[in-house]
């Protein structure tokens, strides 16, 4: 237990440190972008959040399949953890995206393909957690969480293509593509920072889940000695 505690808090601290370094470079060292100016600096947290949210959802999908296959509590715990941390990053992504939209396009919301898809994604996976919270039996809760996660994940590419087609009649908003080397460095650093932080969060969430499960793990009552009676069949 104490050894496990060390690896994930170490990773968490490393993530925190990297986030400070990356954000420092992003905010104060990297040059301002040609057209977008300073607002482009939002990208150094925005894009890492997006990458990691997608990564977590993909992991959740894989964990869900394993959970359905093995019925082991630990796989249910990691599936839930990945979904939940994914939702947190996804929610941050939405807020950052909204601020970005306000700064560049002058509106708080734009029906941009990625922004719209991430809004639908957050709703899809929030549904998984909602379903989960209503099921009392631990075994069924694990199975249903896995099923809902798989069903939700398969929808993501469909939604993405759909929104793209839906938007194709309108003009497509440009996204910054002029990238100087000093812009790549903070992006990469922050991507790993968020990844490490996400792993730390997942580890904590897994602990919560396993601790809750452990409460239910009441040992079988002691065997009552059978009394009397003839045992002829």
């Amino acid at each position: 237990m104490t050894r496990q505690f060390k690896w994930d808090s170490g990773l968490g601290l490393l993530g925190l440190l990297l986030l400070f370094v990356g954000s420092y470079i992003g905010l104060f060292v990297a040059p301002a972008e040609r057209y977008m100016g300073e607002t482009q600096r939002i990208m150094y947290v925005h894009v890492p959040c997006a990458w990691n949210a997608m990564l977590l959802y993909t992991l959740a999908f894989i964990f869900a399949i394993v959970s359905l296959w093995t019925h082991r509590p630990k796989w249910d715990a990691v599936t839930t953890a990945a979904v939940e941390v994914g939702i947190v990053l996804n929610a941050l992504l939405l807020v950052q995206g909204s601020i970005w939209a306000r700064a560049t396009w002058g509106v708080w919301w734009d029906w941009d393909v990625r922004l719209t898809t991430s809004l639908i994604m957050v709703l899809l996976f929030a549904g998984v957690l909602a379903l989960r919270s209503f099921v009392h039996d631990a075994g069924r809760r694990a199975t249903w969480t896995a099923i809902a996660t798989i069903v939700a994940f398969v929808d993501v590419p469909l939604v993405y293509f759909c929104v793209r087609w839906w938007r194709s009649l309108h003009q497509v908003q440009s996204t910054p593509d002029t990238v100087a080397p000093m812009m790549v460095v903070p992006l990469r650093i922050n991507a790993f920072a968020i990844l490490f932080l996400a792993i730390w969060m997942m580890a904590q969430r897994v602990r919560v889940e396993l601790a809750r499960r452990a409460q239910d793990q009441v040992a079988e009552p002691e065997r009552i000695a059978p009394i009397g009676g003839s045992t002829n069949a």
């Binding site: 057209y35 700064a103 908003q173």
Partner: protein, 41 residues
């Protein structure tokens, strides 16, 4: 998107970074809190 360069915009950057930090801290705090509660019981 306007033609020229967007001047300034630091306020948006600060808002985005603060929201991110606040979100991460709030979630981390809830995790620690929930874990303590679950492990104590």
């Amino acid at each position: 998107m306007p033609d020229g360069v967007i001047v300034g915009g630091w306020s948006y950057v600060i808002a985005a970074y603060s929201v991110t930090a606040a979100g991460l801290i709030a979630y981390a705090w809830s995790l620690v809190h929930r874990r303590r509660k679950a492990e104590l019981e």
